[in-house]
Symmetry: C2
Subunit: 459 residues, 2 copies
């Protein structure tokens, strides 16, 4: 008899002899028989195992505690009249690994704050089992979407000496002795002695590198970790997180929005198709109405409207704003909320004032705005940010000079504009932001397996 | 007319009107007509475009240089009698972005050393186009293999304060001013002022974190970047590389080998099915016989033999060894070569002397060896390394003490042995090692988009 996983056992739903390896979630023992609820991690659903006093170690089994790992041999019995479609009648139950009474993950509700302090155990709870399976399946959905369309997945470097986000937000890395670093004559640290021969960092974005690959493969995407060293303690900031950064040659702002919309719908559908129990669980226990929210996205057409027209709309509304809407400024959270409610769905906000956006974004003919686009979605706010890139070298150089961006470190990047440059566009999506959106979980610490935030680097 | 990609155009292989955006690879102009070979990155194969003097900008087109980006409108004409199955007769050819005469990527053979100095341009060559597309497709193959089997993809943290590989091989990261770091009273650096409140690193492995998730989900895998700060300049070392680290609960050494073998065959088949032109290219220009090598793996059954029996075999052979085989020592490169030739295929070497293996590996009943396994393959040598893990807490603690592994930082990890522990196993595979094996490329610098090696952190 070969071991079968519980997910498959439910899928086959037939009478058969099986071997199960799993962990005990609950154990209800009575005088002559008992019920183990076990879970092997293959599915959110527990399997009910019935054992009785005919088993030679019945007494021992009836004392198995929550958390114990077990091997079960038995027969599947279909129970169409019961809540669960089947159960296993055990002919053998063996303890593989014991679990003490003070095991913290007991079958009761634990607060998320409590579980955050045991990040290595929390995936054993239903909530985190659901969240991290959705995270895994959503990652696959992203790969599937891009690979089916011929995009090349590029592993851009994490260690870098140049970065478009500015080095003040980056972690420094070093192999030098920080206690007694080698010094130059002027007493500054002599980074020529460091492993890379100069000061290096871990990156906040793979975009610039990605663009160089888009100029070779046409369509590429990155999917990897990024880092920000900012000391901020909010529900949406972590110092380490994963980003997806696609970049498409011969693609303008309209084409970019087509891709963002199609990709988001694809990922939502993929996750709903492949994680029905997990989405149901989140719908029931995390965000009431989650399923409706996601289904509505699938059938909605995303609004496309300029930043200028959004500000018009905000000013014309009779709301009292904490932050006054302005044609020159960013859109505040309260505005985003109003906008997605007004349009009853996701909204692409395009053509932003150039002074609040990045140097590599395409300058529009008006000379005042850039061809940038943010996607804001109901509840989560900004989910993706992208732009058409400035493909004109002279304009780009002027923008860099205006904004004080150093040319020296990114001369290689400028080659994309020197050698057969073309209209191209890309966007970035924070993966955790997506998972929060897909699960309804409100704190980024609860969608990253081992989150890194200021003063928090346990494990 | 919608833009079509060249890959799809070849796949459809029918007469139709098309719009193509691409880059010029060659331009052969004659008096009344000319031929552009263009590539849009969707496939290794170039498209031949015929243009003639009926076009109003014929003169200009005939001067388009290599590297120029173009928009082409025209009609597909099937050419079954020619080398290429079809060509496009242009009704319009427009330059999108110019390219100067000194463009370094000319249609001639460049050395890999030369191209390494322009990592941002080399994917525009056939070799690197093939290699990095194979890299992308192989990454997808790995995700597909594990996800189809219900494994959960876990993003283990990159920033860490604990590591099983030992911190001497890790990069330190900091937000402190390295010039004037805050000091403790004893003049040591005061890391309590650093962002995480203690000294932190970027990781060399996600295994320990992965194990905690295997104890929740059963089967998990990681796939992410890892770092080693070693100052070594060889063909196979980089300071930043990608690793895959699967971990399976209720899985012993034999089960582990089954998975490694099945996964490798799956990935090879997936890449051969999805990158036929790229594999052909590598077979022709990189490693003669590559295709046969890969096909042979698919049909071979991997040998499984103990380290002890391997040493027997080596000692009994009549070879003169530079490194004398020993029951207590590692297997040298020359031994690996002999072994894979002897068995004419991949070989699992099991049950290694405990003193040369890691502290978390399962101690065998003999007390001398551990249930570790290395997979060595023809030419590439070691491709994967794994083991059954020591699930017995007391034995594990004793091993840690013997090997001087600090318990304090990994107490959370030890919980996997306290709370429902079980037999479990896992392995690590360097992704670059796999790509070198799949392409025949011999230098790791040529299979990473922007490689990081000592003194090399350009881009």
């Amino acid at each position: 008899m070969k071991r079968i996983k519980i997910k498959q056992l439910f899928a086959e739903a037939k009478e058969q002899d099986v071997v199960i390896c799993a962990w005990v979630r609950t154990n209800r023992a009575q005088a002559q028989f008992g019920f183990l609820n076990v879970n092997d991690g293959s599915t959110l659903n527990n399997l009910q195992v019935v054992y009785d006093s005919a088993l030679k170690n019945f007494e021992a089994i009836s004392k198995f505690r929550v958390g114990v790992s077990v091997l079960i041999k038995g027969k599947v019995v279909l129970t169409p009249e019961m809540k669960q479609p089947l159960e296993v009648h055990a002919s053998e139950v063996e303890m593989l690994g014991d679990c003490p009474e003070d095991y913290p993950i007991q079958p009761k509700r634990h607060t998320r704050e409590f579980l955050r302090e045991m990040a290595h155990l929390r995936p054993r709870t239903n909530l985190f089992n659901a969240v991290f399976r959705i995270r895994s399946v959503a990652a696959m959905a992203i790969h599937a979407y891009f690979q089916e369309r011929g995009y090349v997945y590029v592993h851009t470097p994490l260690i870098t000496c140049a970065d478009c986000e500015g080095s003040d937000q980056m972690f420094k890395i070093t192999t030098l002795n920080m206690q007694n670093p080698p010094l130059n004559e002027d007493k500054t640290v002599d980074f020529s002695k460091d492993l890379f021969g100069k000061q290096s960092f871990i990156t906040g974005s793979g975009q610039l590198h990605g663009e160089t690959y888009a100029m070779a493969f046409g369509d590429i995407y990155t999917f990897g970790p990024t880092f920000r060293s900012e000391n901020s303690n909010t529900q949406t900031h972590a110092n380490e997180f994963w980003m997806i950064e696609p970049e498409m040659a011969f693609c303008d702002l309209e084409g970019l929005m087509d891709i963002e919309e199609e990709m988001l719908k694809y990922v939502i559908k993929y996750v709903m198709d492949n994680c029905p129990s997990e989405i149901d669980f989140c719908d029931q226990f995390v965000e009431k109405g989650l399923k409706d929210k996601l289904s509505n996205i699938l059938s909605s057409s995303f609004t496309r409207i300029s930043h200028h027209d959004i500000v018009d709309l905000l000013l014309k509304s009779d709301r009292k704003w904490e932050f006054k809407p302005s044609y020159e400024d960013d859109i505040a959270k309260e505005h985003e909320k109003f906008i997605t409610e007004h349009f009853n769905g996701p909204v692409f906000i395009t053509n932003w004032p150039k002074d609040i956006k990045a140097w590599y974004m395409k300058l529009n003919p008006d000379g005042k705005t850039v061809a940038a686009v943010d996607l804001v979605v109901p509840q989560a706010g900004e989910l993706m940010g992208g732009s058409q890139r400035e493909e004109n070298l002279d304009v780009l150089l002027e923008r860099m000079e205006q904004l004080g961006v150093e040319k020296d470190g990114v001369d290689w990047y400028l080659d994309t504009r020197r050698f057969g440059g073309c209209v191209h566009s890309g966007f970035g999506m924070g993966f955790e932001r997506l998972i929060m959106y897909l699960t309804g979980v409100e704190n980024i610490r609860d969608v990253i397996p081992f989150p890194r935030t200021p003063k928090n680097c346990k494990y």
